[in-house]
Structures are given as C-alpha cells and as structure tokens.
C-alpha cells in the first residue's frame, strides 16, 4: 500500500517539477525593474504621496516643476536648474513680486500645450478650494510645500507672475516641489482625478503605460521630452512596491528585479558577495537628537551640548552600520554647499567632553541625567535602537546617563508636531528625529524659527534666538543665489558653533543594483534621474 502511495505521490509531483523547470521571467532588453520600499504605487496625478520616494519615482519621472533639481552629478551637491521656467527674478521695487518666463514649445503627454494658464490651473488645483479642479489629495501633499505663495496670474502665454506673502527668496526651492499636470487631460478624463490616476499626463521624461494599485506601475519613455539630453534610454521602467526588506533582497537575488532601494545593512555583504553593486552617496538627510530648550532642560548649557557632541564615537558607529553612513561634522552633511567653516570641530574627544562637563558643574559624583525620546523604527530613522543604545553607552562613558522613552513611530511624529512642552512628550529633553534637509527652509529655517515653535510649526525644542531669527530673515531677503548661499553658510556655522543639536550622522541612501544596470549617477539628492540608465544583457 505504501509503495502504491509513493508511486502516486511521484506522479503527482511531476507537474510541479515541470513548473519549476520553466525559466525565470524573460523581459525585453532595456527594461529596468525597481523594488521600492513604499507599500503602494505613489499617487500618479501630479503631487505624489509616499514622501521623497514618491517624488523620486512618480514625480520627477512623469512631471516637471517650474524649477527642477539638477540631478546630473554625483560629485557636487545638487542645485536648482531651470525646469518648465527658463528664467525667473524678483521685482527690484517690490520684493514680493516674482516673474517667471516659461519654456516655449513644451507639450504635455496628451499633446496639449504647456503655458502660463496651465501653471495657474495647477496652483488652483492645490490652493483654491472652490476651483473645479481642486484635489484634496494633491492639496494635502502640495499646499504645505509652498507657504510663501499668496497670489499668481498669467501675464501672457509664457509669462507668470507670483506674489509672495512677504519677501521670500526661498520661493524657487518651494516651487521645485510643485508638479505640473495637464488641464486638458483632466477634462478628457471627465474632470475626475480617480480616472486621471490611471491615465495621467505630465511633461516629464516618462509616461505612465499601465498601473495596478499596490502591485506595479510601468513607465515608458517620452521621446518628445523637451530636454533632449534627458530622454530615457531604457525601453521600460517597472516599479514594484516591496516594503519588506528581506522580500526585496530575495527579489533582487532571484532576478525578479534589477534594483532595490534601501537593502538591509546586514544583507549588504551577501549582496556584494553575489556580484551586486551597492551604490550610495551623501544625502541631504541628518539623524540627530533635537534638543529641548525649555526652562530646566540640561541642554540649555552650551558646555553640556558640546560635551555630548564630543562624546560620540561616530567612526565606530559607522562600522556598526556596515559603513553605510556619513559621520556628522555639523547639522548639514560635510559636502553641503552651505556647510561653511564652523569653529567648533565635531569629533570624538571624550577627554575634552569630560572637561566641559566638569566646567558645567558635573562630575563622577554628580552625573548628568537626561531623558530622551526614541522610536524603534521609522522612515529615515536608519537603525534607531542599536544606534541610540550606542549613543547611550558613549554618553555614559563621559558622565551623562540617558533614560529612554521608546514610542512607536507614528506616535513619535505626533509628539514631534506637538513639541517638547506637550505632556505627550513625557518630560523628555530630546527627540531622535531624522530630517530631510534639502533646501533653506527644510534644512535650517523650520527647526529653530521663533514663529515656528510647536505646535504652530516644527521647532520642537522651543528654541528662540533673535540673532538666529535675523539670519533666517536675511536668507529670505537675499535674492542673489550666491549671496544667499553665503548667508546659509553663516547660519549653519551658528548651528554648529553653538552645538544646537546632538549631531550624529547622515544617511547615504544605499541601493543595490544588478550588475546589468549601467550608467546610473546617484545625485546627492532625494530625487534621481533614470534617463541615462541602460540594461546590459
């Protein structure tokens, strides 16, 4: 009986063997398949969701902004470059009035013309709630990106005027977030954004070919793209949401995708051993402890802040992360155009740290106790638990005892919005929050502005210094980009010299690529250009 059964089982197994023997996916040459960390396809209608990753894969691919980021260089920090606007400037007499000259001859994917009316229509889509095309979902993503914009109008077909609430030289950076979708296409789709989502139309180098929610999106090149140097060389770009890091790595190693975002650090050696390329570059991101400056906080003492910054052994932490970090030398990455020349050298010097703590009145008999808020995971948080435990050990060695309050990531976001004074902050004196720091506002202004003290804004620690506020005002009022960079540098020097944060590290946005992928240049930016990439079979 058993033998009969075994024979039957062997016969039953035959179809399974036939299935296993079939070859693993054969795709056309020139198809790049990317495993994203997002759990869904980012919003396709224009203003994307899913954070920086959404803009990277569904914003700067299908669309353009008036002002784009230059993503062509890996060596130097990325800067702004003309996008759908060829030039712009502020009125000499009235510093709130900006004029944008638009690019001539640009068409949307549906063939309709891009002009100043289309820009006004797009701004209304985000800001004017009674306009027909107002889209709450895109507004939720885009409105907070352009706080400076007060009004706008089309002067002629190719000239646009934007008026800001007050003089604000950071307007071009704000506009680099705003994607232009086609008004004609929205009309064709029955004025229904849900329908536009399946057949969107932008001006970007890629067009959406097909899209299955939560599973895949396929993009094809736009051969008529206005910038001939950025017409994609690939035949097709396939985007797959693969939120689970192990599933992502397995998909790469089994040849189902050619590229994954953010491989888990502990899998990097295995991937490299199997011939995959690990690419990374400095990213405008930082991983800090944002310090509370409320009355009674131990971080109000400059010596304590400096001591903590000198106590962290960042090189050893780098080893902990498999080399995938840039040790902090300031609040901005060392390669930033706004780094400047701060006098305080952020380094590992435990002896100096102990000396500064003694000066601040602490010692072996009077150890300093601090309470810190951390999360076990979260977007951009890298590996928060081992990293914070590492810091706890470093600080203990110089005489600072850290007690952690660990809260779940979404709860932490809410505490961050509520500020250090909120009772939800559980009496902590710092919050371990990683920051997107790509432009003057997100990079410096929003963290320490007096008028942005939480819950009105994102100044979590209630810091307020008139001298710093004057610098922020100067940034907003310096319209010459080079002069503005100079003010940014002075501001950053103050950030570092006064050790306003516990400055730990910067992420390097690692991605793992199949050896077949050629020609990718990883810009020092959250967004990337997929146009020059080819696949070598």
């Amino acid at each position: 009986m058993i033998w009969k059964f075994l024979r039957g089982a062997a016969l039953a197994a035959l179809p399974a063997a036939a299935i296993a023997a079939a070859p693993v996916d054969a795709f056309a040459a020139g198809t790049l398949r990317i495993g994203m960390t997002a759990s869904d396809i980012p919003l396709t209608t224009g203003q994307t969701d899913q954070g920086g990753e959404g803009m990277r894969f569904m914003g700067y691919t299908l669309y353009d902004a008036l002002v784009n980021w230059d993503l062509g260089s890996a060596e130097k920090p990325s800067v702004l470059t003309p996008g759908l606007a060829v030039e712009w400037g502020v009125d000499e007499a009235d510093k709130t009035k900006w004029t944008f000259k638009l690019r001539e001859g640009v068409t949307f994917h549906d063939g309709s013309a891009f002009n100043a009316e289309a820009v006004v229509w797009n701004l209304d889509k985000l800001l004017k709630e009674d306009s027909e095309q107002y889209d709450p979902r895109q507004a939720a993503q885009g409105k907070s990106r352009i706080p400076a914009v007060s009004s706008y109008k089309a002067v002629d077909d190719l000239t646009l005027e934007i008026v800001t609430r007050e003089p604000d030289a950071t307007l071009p950076y704000q506009l680099a977030w705003i994607m232009m979708s086609s008004p004609a296409n929205w009309e064709t789709q029955g004025k229904d954004w849900e329908k536009v989502a399946s057949s969107p139309s932008g001006t970007g180098p890629w067009k959406l070919d097909s899209f299955v929610p939560r599973e895949r999106a396929e993009l094809v090149p736009n051969p008529d793209y206005w910038d001939g140097t950025r017409v994609p060389k690939l035949d097709r770009l396939v985007l797959l949401p693969l939120p689970e890091p192990n599933a992502r790595s397995a998909a790469l190693m089994s040849g189902q995708v050619d590229w994954i975002e953010a491989p888990a650090p502990d899998l990097v050696p295995a991937l490299e051993g199997n011939g995959f390329q690990i690419v990374s570059n400095t990213l405008p991101h930082n991983w800090t402890w944002h310090l509370s400056r409320l009355e009674g906080s131990p971080w109000n003492d400059l010596n304590v802040r400096k001591a903590a910054n000198l106590a962290i052994d960042r090189e050893s932490m780098k080893q902990l992360l498999g080399g995938l970090m840039v040790p902090a030398k300031g609040f901005l990455p060392p390669s930033s155009q706004w780094f400047g020349k701060p006098e305080f050298d952020v380094r590992y010097d435990p002896e100096e740290a102990k000396r500064l703590l003694t000066e601040a009145g602490h010692g072996p008999d009077n150890r300093l106790k601090v309470k810190a808020l951390i999360s076990p995971s979260g977007s951009g948080q890298m590996l928060p638990l081992p990293m914070n435990e590492f810091i706890q050990q470093n600080l203990a060695e110089v005489g600072i005892d850290v007690e952690f309050e660990v809260v779940e990531w979404n709860t932490m976001i809410n505490i961050w919005r509520a500020g250090a004074e909120s009772e939800n902050a559980l009496g902590t004196q710092s919050i371990n929050f990683s920051y997107f720091i790509q432009d003057p506002f997100t990079g410096l202004i929003r963290h320490l502005s007096c008028d942005l003290i939480a819950p009105n804004g994102t100044n979590w620690g209630h810091y307020c210094d008139p001298e710093m506020d004057a610098l922020f005002k100067e940034i907003r009022n310096t319209f010459d980009p080079e002069a503005q960079d100079e003010v940014m540098r002075r501001t950053h020097e103050k950030y570092v010299n006064e050790a306003l944060f516990l400055m730990v590290t910067h992420d390097v946005a690692p991605r793992a690529l199949s050896p077949k992928v050629k020609g990718f240049v990883q810009a020092q930016n959250w967004f990337q250009d997929f146009a020059p990439i080819t696949i070598e079979e």
Binding site: I2, F5, A16, A18, I19, A20, A21, A22, V24, D25, S39, D40, L43, D49, G51, P136, R137, A140, Q141, K143, S144, R145, E194, V212, P213, R214, E215, R216, L240, L242, P243, E244, N246, A247, A250, A251, M253, S254, G255, Q256, E408, N410, T411, I413, N414, R417, T442, R446, P455, N456, G457, T458
Partner: protein, 317 residues
C-alpha cells in the same frame, strides 16, 4: 431539520454585529493618527484639522460607528485614507487574490493532511505512524514565515527555479491558471499549507485510530467484510469531525496570512491588512477586518449546514 437551518442562520446576525462593533473599536483604540500617513510630515495644525474634519474623525466615536455601519450595510465601506480608492474595491480585489492562494494551499494541505492522517491512523503505533506524526508536528510547530524565507532562499535565490515575490509576471490583475502564473503560487501555497496539513493529519489520525478500535469494526471484520469495505465505513465515521476541522482551517486560509503574504508580496488580504496597519488607514483596516470576519462566520455557517448531510445523527437530533 428546517429549525436547525433557521437557528444557524439567525445566530449569524448577532455574531456579525458583534464582529463589526469589535473591529471598529479595535482600530480606534490603537495608538497613532490615521492622517500621519497622508499628510506631509510638517503640515500645519490647521491643515491637519481640516483633513480630520474632511474624514469625519472630529465626530464622537458612536456617531462615527453608526455612520460607518449604515454605509457598510449599503455596501459602501468608505474610501481608503492613504489611496483615496474605495475600500470595497480594494478588499474584494485582495480577497480574490487570497482565494486563489487559499484554494491552492487547501488543495495541498487538506489532501495531504487527510492522506497522511489516514495512513498514520491505519498503521497506528508503527514506525510509519511515528514518521507521519513527526512530520505533522513539525508542520504545526515550524513558524511558517521562517519556512517561507528558507524556501525562498533555496528555490529562488540558490536554485533560481521559482519566483520569490508577486502574483504573476504582470501583477494579479492579469492572473491566469497557466504554468507561467502557477510558478508564482508554488512557494506561498506550500508554505501556507503546512499548518493546516499538520492539524488535519493529526485529527484524522486520532479519529481513524479511534474508529478502528470500536466494536462495530470488529463485528464487520467478523462478518467477513473486506478491508476496502471496512475503510469505507471508517471514512464515513471520520468525515463529520474532519469536516469541522477542515472548515475552521479553511476560514484560517481565507483570512490570508499577514506574514506569508508579506514575505511573498502576495497582494491578498493579509498584505492589505499589514499595509493598512502601518499606514493607520482606519477605513481600510475596518473594512478588511469586517470582510474577513464575516468570511469566517460564513464558512462556519456553511460547515454547520453541511454537517447534517454527512452525519445523519445531527439530523435526528
């Protein structure tokens, strides 16, 4: 008999209502703000309040529940906060994918489980029995997400025979029952079938052993009935309890597995649930839990209704 059917059908109503209250409360007592997922991280308090009002989260909980229940009864489970798409459509698409996976896994799990159970029960206390029992205990005890990862490492990464993620080369909307697509279902289905296979095998083994030791079997043998005839009687006696166990396990398979669907990126209900949980997408979470719970209730009802057909004793009571 008719009373029995009506009784079973009526029981479903309070159970379904209880389930809906429970899943509504469950997602609301969990910490976290559903709007975190959809708003840029530094959206102002004013923008957040506007959004909260737009989704009705500013109303008291009982009001929110009644509005939700009213809409749910009309077949409208609301729109997902994170994607803006109707929840009903999202859930039904995911249910379709989970059904495909559950069908494949039950085909493997139940047939092998019953077969192994029968063999072990028939050869009770022999090395064959011990081998089958060891296999089924392993099946029940091994964490299946771990098994899934191991299978992926062996069959996808090392041997390159089978794909490790997704539901077909063109996504689940292009699903077909052909070799190219079936290759995608092999690993998740095998992984998912291991637990039900173990449970069914153990149950059937115990039942077969028990029935074989009963007097009527001895009597049948004494009357000269052949082995095949006796086995037929054993099967009929074993069937009702096996059916109950299979029904429960089917409910478990239809619920989709968060872990397995996440490991294999299978776009079913488990995958949808895990996304909804991480994004605090309350309408999606509520809708998915409700549909799954109702599925479970429905499968149990079905089992209850089929029971009298295979076990005349229930009909007599």
């Amino acid at each position: 008999m008719l009373t029995y059917f009506i009784q079973r059908l009526v029981y479903v109503v309070p159970v379904a209502l209880g389930v809906s209250v429970f899943c509504f409360l469950l997602v609301h007592i969990a910490p976290g703000d559903p709007l975190t997922a959809v708003m840029p991280i530094d959206a102002t308090a004013e923008q957040q309040a506007a959004m909260r009002a737009a989704y009705g989260f500013d109303k008291p909980l009982p009001v929110q529940f009644l509005v939700w229940l009213g809409n749910a009864l009309a077949g409208d489970l609301g729109n997902s906060i994170a994607t803006g798409r109707p929840v009903a459509g999202e859930v039904m698409r995911a249910v379709g994918n989970t059904l495909i996976l559950a069908f494949a896994a039950s085909l493997i799990g139940f047939s092998l489980g019953i077969l192994f159970g029968f063999i072990a029960g028939y050869f009770k206390d022999t090395p064959i029995d011990r081998a089958v029992t060891a296999l089924s205990i392993t099946g029940v005890s091994v964490p299946n997400y771990w098994l899934g990862i191991v299978l992926v490492v062996i069959f996808s990464v090392m041997l390159g025979w089978l794909p490790s993620t997704g539901a077909g080369p063109g996504g689940s909307s292009a699903w077909r029952w052909d070799v190219e697509h079936l290759r995608f279902i092999v690993l998740p289905a095998v992984t998912l079938s291991v637990v039900p296979m173990g449970i069914v095998a153990r149950t059937v083994r115990a039942l077969v052993g028990d029935v074989l030791s009963q007097d009527f079997v001895t009597a049948l043998a004494a009357k000269g009935m052949g082995r095949a005839g006796i086995l037929r009687h054993v099967m009929r006696n074993v069937a009702p309890t096996t059916l109950s166990v299979v029904g429960l396990q089917l409910g478990y398979l239809l619920g989709g597995s968060i872990l397995i669907e996440t490991v294999f990126n299978w776009p079913g209900t488990g995958f949808l649930l895990s996304n909804a949980i991480f994004q605090r997408d309350l309408p999606l979470l509520q809708g998915t839990i409700l549909v799954l719970a109702l599925f479970f209730v429905f499968v149990n009802l079905l089992v209850d209704l089929v029971q009298p057909l295979v076990d005349p004793r229930i009909k007599r009571t």
